[in-house]
């Protein structure tokens, strides 16, 4: 400590190695390409199982089904990047389908914006509860999950509400350039726009800093609370947009319509390689993850696996993907 310096201080740094630790390990390199590898492997497997699968028609159908999942997963990815988790997305999405169906007769084309705004606001409330009350995000959103389900049940009287006015969402069922379903195009647009905003502004630095090390981010003076609330807001708004897609496809809103999308959405995020511990990952990864999950879903019947295995597979995938991407250096004790 207080040993006197005999040597010239300037010569000391030279003895010090500039870089002390190695680069990413082989495992890390492989997992960073995991979603793409999984996507290609799945496509290949499905094509071998059923040569008809690789046609424009079935692919179009697959990406069209995937659109709401992509949007849901993309929004929640932001929260995960900040180191939290949003378990309320599916319930909020269900509630939003009900709101959409109920508001449509009065508000017409504006309903889409209104639902997205309402869902975003609800997301913001969760974010505020998280940062102001300092409650772990999974508790807030688990609470949100049951509150939103309850509200949806009450206002819909526990039944589906038919969408009568189909004109205002007709555009969602069109095709871009004749092949790409509009809903998927919108989903891509959401991913691209949000990613671009992150990339071009300091937000990406903020989100990553918060996710990797929240205390360092706070002590560096970054707007931790604001960014977190914003992430929850976007997550909520995405749930609203996904709800519009679902409601326009099913021509109804129902208090349980999207409930079974929670697991696939979480699976999409972790399969994409976004670390559940925060910081590492991207929306593009979740897009790839959502496509993998969708292919599994439509592909299982093709290879002759009963759909009941779907759930088991989700469970296994989530655990395996998290195990592969988890940043263990950060958490000494895993609870």
């Amino acid at each position: 400590m207080s040993t006197p310096v005999i040597a010239d201080p300037a010569s000391n740094p030279a003895a010090e190695p500039a870089v002390v630790k190695g680069g990413p390990t082989l495992g890390q390199r492989v997992t960073s390409f995991m979603p793409v590898i999984a996507l290609v492997a799945l496509l290949t497997a499905l094509t071998i199982a059923d040569p008809d699968f690789l046609t424009q028609r079935s692919l179009t159908a697959a990406v069209r089904t995937s659109a709401p999942l992509v949007v849901l997963a993309a929004g929640a990815t932001l929260v995960v990047l900040c180191g939290g988790i949003d378990l309320s997305i599916a319930a909020l999405c269900s509630l939003s389908t009900v709101l959409f169906a109920m508001w449509l007769p009065d508000m017409g084309g504006l309903t889409i914006l209104a639902v997205i705004a309402a869902a975003g606001a609800i997301g913001a409330v969760q974010g505020l509860a998280h940062v102001l009350l300092r409650i772990p995000s999974f508790v807030v959103t688990l609470g949100g999950l049951s509150i939103f389900s309850a509200i949806a049940l009450v206002i819909s009287d526990a039944g589906p509400i038919r969408v009568v006015d189909r004109d205002s969402t007709k555009w969602l069922n069109l095709y871009v350039a004749g092949y790409v379903p509009m809903s998927f195009f919108v989903a891509l647009l959401v991913v691209a726009v949000v990613s671009l905003i992150l990339k071009l502004t300091p937000l990406e630095s903020f989100v990553k800093a918060i996710g990797y090390s929240e205390s360092a981010a706070r002590l560096a003076g970054t707007p931790v609370d604001k960014v977190k609330v914003a992430a929850f807001t976007v997550s909520g708004a995405c749930a609203g947009l996904a709800a519009v897609m679902l409601a326009s496809r099913n021509f109804s809103g129902s208090p349980t319509m999207a409930d079974n999308l929670l697991l696939p959405a979480v699976a999409a995020i972790v399969v994409g390689g976004t670390a559940i511990t925060g910081g590492h990952g991207s929306l593009w990864r979740s897009l790839a993850g959502a496509l993998v999950v969708t292919l599994l879903r439509v592909g299982l019947p093709i290879v002759g696996v009963p759909s009941a295995w779907e759930q088991i597979l989700y469970g296994a995938i989530i655990v395996a993907a998290v195990a592969l991407t988890l940043d263990r250096s950060k958490v000494a004790i895993i609870k």
């Binding site: 400590m1 207080s2 040993t3 006197p4 310096v5 005999i6 040597a7 201080p9 010569s11 000391n12 740094p13 003895a15 010090e16 190695p17 500039a18 870089v19 002390v20 630790k21 680069g23 071009l200 502004t201 300091p202 630095s205 990553k208 800093a209 990797y212 090390s213 205390s215 360092a216 981010a217 706070r218 002590l219 560096a220 003076g221 970054t222 707007p223 910081g279 590492h280």
Partner: protein, 520 residues
């Protein structure tokens, strides 16, 4: 005083076997050599004091002795037998136990459970607790040290001193594991005890000597001399000497601990060209109180470095964090250049031109997986933006400029900061506050912790340069030496209060001993 350590006591066959012996222990951490060939002998039924400044290697040595750290080289001998300690349990099997500085008790269990934890023996049969037996087992241990604590009290309802007794009772359980007298290590056991409690502890230590060997670690040298038979001193990861306590005075030990300063200007005092005595105070703190500090008055002038010293628990870290808005304050008025300072949060502090370098660099200072460039511009985002947009070219130019100015050794600005050595990491963290050129007050919390000598010297030079450019600096130094070497003035904090101000001008520096007197 010269080194009179005898590294080969086993040559004399008639001498009693040493309870514990360490030979040439070496331990490297990335960038730092924590232990550099340490030798240590603990005789039977003696209390050995272990002294050394922060970073001298004490804690690494102790951890090696209880199997928490595996040395890279060197040997540990227990009662004439070479051993390899791979865990606390193995160390206990050899009769070595440690009372940890940060107590190692489970707060929500009873004292009895903590005492027998991990070796319940007859206290648990087939997985079922026998509370009566458990209580008796614990009572036996508590009786050994004459403690009257209720074994069935919850640990978190006990006072700190009582918990310390529980901890000692727990360590004494290792007696039952070996047939030999145990070696008990006490790591800074007095740091937060009151004088009455310390007396009790000392009588326990003397009692322990009857049937055990004790290694006693404390930064309070008077205590070490009071309770120990012999003191060994570490410096820079090496054993630099030892002395019997009889007749020794603290200054003897201190000289050994810090070594001779020599003529070399380690702290670059030559760089302090300006006198700051007559400039206006930049930071003025009046009666600031928080959870761990009360009525703190403090002022720092532009271009001045003010050190705050104090023992563990003096509250100086929290004063530092409170000034940065990272800890709440309850009362007090703080002004910066005459304007009232907003202490509501870190954002406000940053906006007022305050910078903070936290002690825990790897957890709080930097974002390890992010690049050098992004870490450097994390706070002052405007410096790399045009409007709301990031301009990569602007960032690259700026970051490269600062990499060069601070001679940060990194392969590229895009390299992950976590892959740099500690000194270079710290320079990036410092640069974060400098890139915008608007820094007025810099709060440095142990800025040289864990750095090697070369890197430290560079940080010192940087601090001097910043001070010369008019930045006011508050420094919580890693050692008294550092505080004295770097500061223009030193504030002593004691139990949450600023108790003494010591002028510390170049050429008229106080000695560490002067400060220690005020600190305890």
């Amino acid at each position: 005083m010269t080194t009179n350590l005898q590294p080969h006591p086993e040559t004399d066959a008639s001498a009693p076997v040493n309870a514990l012996e360490v030979r040439g222990l070496v331990k490297h951490y990335p960038g730092v050599k924590a232990l550099d060939g340490v030798d240590l002998v603990v005789r039977q039924n003696e209390v050995l004091g272990l002294a050394g400044e922060n970073g001298a290697g004490k804690s690494t040595l102790l951890k090696a002795l209880v199997g928490l750290v595996r040395p890279d080289a060197g040997e540990i001998w227990v009662r004439g037998e070479k051993v390899r300690l791979r865990s606390v349990v193995e160390a206990a099997d050899h009769g070595i136990g440690m009372v940890f500085q940060e107590q190692s008790l489970v707060p929500n269990l009873t004292a009895a459970e903590n005492i027998v934890l991990g070796s319940e023996g007859p206290g648990v049969r087939r997985g079922i607790y026998r509370w009566d037996t458990m209580r008796k087992l614990a009572q036996e241990q508590l009786d050994k040290i004459g403690s009257h604590i209720d074994p069935l009290a919850r640990t978190d309802s006990l006072s700190f001193a009582e918990r310390q007794m529980v901890e000692i009772a727990k360590v004494l359980r290792i007696e039952e594991r070996t047939s030999h007298p145990p070696v008990i290590i006490l790591d800074e056991p007095t740091s937060v005890l009151e004088s009455k409690e310390i007396e009790t502890l000392f009588s326990q230590v003397r009692r322990l000597r009857e049937f055990a060997s004790v290694v006693f670690v404390s930064h309070r040298l008077d205590e070490v001399l009071d309770v120990c038979d012999r003191v060994a001193v570490l410096r820079g990861g090496q054993s630099v000497g030892e002395t019997p306590t009889a007749g020794a005075v603290p200054s003897d030990l201190h000289r050994l601990m810090i070594g001779s300063t020599g003529s070399d200007d380690h702290y670059h005092e030559g760089l302090s060209e300006r006198s700051v005595a007559d400039s206006e105070p930049r930071l003025v703190v009046k009666g600031m109180s928080g959870k761990t500090f009360r009525d703190v008055d403090l002022d720092v002038r532009a271009g001045e470095i003010v050190g705050i010293v104090g023992v563990h628990g003096s509250g100086r870290e929290d004063v530092c964090r409170a000034l940065f808005g990272a800890e709440p304050t309850l009362a007090g008025e703080v002004t910066l250049d005459g304007a009232k300072l907003d202490l509501s949060g870190t954002r406000a502090a940053v906006a007022s031109g305050i910078g903070y370098v936290p002690a825990e660099r790897k957890i709080e200072g930097m974002v390890g997986p992010m690049s050098v460039a992004d870490n450097m511009t994390l706070t002052k985002q405007k410096s790399r933006c045009a409007g709301p947009m990031v301009v990569p070219q602007k960032q690259a130019t700026l970051v490269d400029k600062w990499i060069e100015r601070l001679s940060i050794r990194t392969p590229h600005r895009g390299t992950q900061i976590g892959r740099l050595s500690g000194g270079n990491q710290q320079k990036v963290v410092l640069a974060r506050w400098l890139v915008a050129g608007d820094i007025r007050l810099l709060l440095l919390d142990h800025p040289t912790r864990g750095l090697d000598i070369g890197a430290r010297s560079e940080v010192y030079r940087l601090m001097r340069e910043l001070a010369n450019s008019g930045v006011a600096t508050v420094l919580l130094a890693d050692s008294l030496e550092e505080a004295i070497g770097m500061s223009d003035r030193i504030i002593v904090m004691n139990d949450g209060r600023a108790t003494k101000e010591v002028a510390c001008p170049s050429g008229g520096k106080p000695t560490p001993l002067d400060l220690v007197k005020e600190m305890v």
